[in-house]
């Protein structure tokens, strides 16, 4: 079984209202050194696949199709082989 860790962020041109609001809150809380905050999504997906190439292709395919919005988001991911034990 493979574990894919997928990190999704907005493309640079897209507004990230959450990031702005969090940054303002951190400033109010006196974390003065904060320069920039971006919030994205993080997925951990366990999947069966016959080899690492198939797994990679599969992750790319469903991330493009469902997990991200290609107009506004981009992603990267790590893939590792894990034991079949189910809990992440």
């Amino acid at each position: 079984m493979y574990l894919a860790k997928i990190y999704v962020t907005y493309k640079p041109s897209i507004l990230d209202p959450q990031g702005e609001v969090i940054k303002a809150a951190l400033k109010r809380m006196d974390y003065a050194g904060i320069n920039q905050v971006a919030q994205g999504k993080y997925f951990e997906v366990k999947l069966e696949a016959k080899d690492v190439d198939t797994a990679t292709a599969e992750v790319q395919s469903f991330t493009d199709a469902l997990l991200i919005n290609q107009n506004t988001e981009t992603y990267r991911f790590d893939l590792s082989l894990v034991s079949d034990e189910v809990s992440i």
Binding site: L15, P17, N71, T72
Partner: protein, 740 residues
Amino acid sequence: MATVTNNELSPEQVRDSNIYKQWGLTEIEYNLIVKELKRLPNFTETGIFSGMWSEHVSYKKSKPILRKFWSKNERVLQGPGEGAGILDIGDGQAVVFKAESHNHPSFVEPYEGAATGVGGILRDIFSMGAQPIAVLDSLRFGELNDTHTKHIVDGVIAGIAGYGNAIGIPTVGGEISFDHVYAGNPLVNVMAVGLMDQSAMQVGQAHGVGNSIIYVGAKTGRDGINGASFASAEFSTDQESDRSAVQVGDPFLEKLVMDATLKAVREYSDIIVGIQDMGAAGLLSSSSEMAAKAGMGITLNLDMVPQRETNMTPYELMLSESQERMVLVVKRGEEQAIIDLFQESDLDAVIIGEVTDNGRYILNFKNNTVADVPIDFLTHAPKQNLIMTEPKRLSKFTKTQYQPDMSDVKNTIISLVAQATIASKASLFRHFDSMVRTDTVIKSGGDASLVRVRGTQKALAMTTDVNARYLYLNPKVGAQMAVAEAARNITATGATPIGITDGLNFGSPDNPEVYYELDQSVAGINDMAKKLNTPIISGNVSLYNETDGQAIYPTPMIGMVGLLDDVSKATTIAFKHATDSIYVIGETTDSFNGSEIQKLQTGEIEGQLFEFDSDQELASQALVRDAIANDFIASAHDLSEGGLIVGLLESSFAGHLSFNVNTNQADKYLFAETPSRFVVSVPEEKANLFEELAGKQATKIGSVTDGDNIVVNTTTQTVTLSRREVKKVYQESISWQLEG
């Protein structure tokens, strides 16, 4: 004039590369610009003409038809032309409303497309100085057996909820239906209603030389660049690359902008000269139209525009469709009060230019003048006279009405209530906060919705309606029927219809058959609007709704508002007491072409549309309003898709009672969609009074009953249904289909 900044194409390169064509300008239009300017337009200038002359902004193709709309009566304070129309509702108050479409963006990116549609229409309302009080929607999707359609439905519903709920304006009603023609081109129309004191009326005009142009709200990014020309282009399924023009909304920011804008209007009406939201073609169209309407010029300093991204070009700054932005015109010397007010809510408010008297639209950027064009010319796209021809299909339709197959009436009824277009939409509109602001008297699930005007006895009824299948069979009569149905829904609450906003969704106007549909639809809307005394005070046009050359049905959404003087008279569709008598108001005739039963049994819509008699319509509505005003009736429900049987079932399901009726007609008439009809229930002690008032217009067909048994007698048979079982199908069918 500086011609090249940021490695833009030179004027000669613009000409030779034909880039203006990609932006949607025709060669004739480009040459007109050259002739008027007496030189080649530079890159920025070409860009701003392409934005302003797009159909979405200029309405150059639909204007000759839109001009025909009837939009004046004793109530109209503001007709088409401003952010939204305004009607007098007495006591110095006014209602403001408008509809907007976000069809293309919602296909590309359902959540953000629908969400920013709500954000945009709300800005239209509060930029007039009105407090938004309600949102409605009108949605069309492909059939629910398709995975992509399900994805679009989920996204659109979540997007409307995501924006409307967060900003705190209730989504009180709407309509949804499903037909294959919308599979590649869903329709997402939203309507917003606002309330204001007449003294607070604002218009989007830039008067007064030297007055300041103030930019308010979100920073400008590159989102939605070319959205306006994108909204005016047809989709082809292999054109994925075009799909970057979708904006992202931030309802939190918009709530801050809305509250601050309304506060500014309340506290500084004497120094605010005009307000305009930035919608299609962003800063460009809002600033140029404000100046043009006032007969003035404008000069902007683009270095002052708050920017979210680095290295933005003038072209990008002007055409960006970043959301949650407004333009204010403020008296010179008084700007600080306004700037402070917005800054109190942590909002950007910046002076970016001033009103001039030279009639020119001038943009300065990094110490250069990057555009200098006559404003009148910029804001008046060359008219286009398009040809129209009657669609070939219309002459092929025969008069014979479809005859339903009545071999198994009971199962036909059950299949009918399971049809996505008939089944309850509650599992979808349950995601919308319909009650925030605590003024919603009648929520989604009946005919029209009703919102009270706090502090008075008045309430406003509102609805969106159109049965596009009827228009497909007959654009003019179908359009009359759409207006009539909207008015029936308003009337069923007890309210009197007072005005219309429309959302004209059509295919490509360059196709003469589509242009004919548009023309005839407007004619039909006009006819019925005049009869009802409901002027068309605002609206929206969405053309090019086609995928790979296949146009949608002509779908002119009718948004209607009604006024109820005494909210205690408000009437709902639910049966109220067992033993109440049930009456049908209006005649039932052989009306099956374009009906839900035809669609169910044949999968097609065809034949000549059945007849519509507008006098009969007015008479039925007058009777229902009278009967409600006199407290004669306990429930009222208009009959539309699915006919009498669906109307009866809905009145049953909306409460907790059943019914026993005898129609004295053949089975098939249970499913006829003859217009101008209502089903009402009348308490025993009012029956005589009601019958006296109604005369021949009403026919008693049975009574409301306790228990689970629904009994329907016709001249041919008796059908018995379990209320519980049929209700389950009605309520859960949409979820089953979405999850299946």
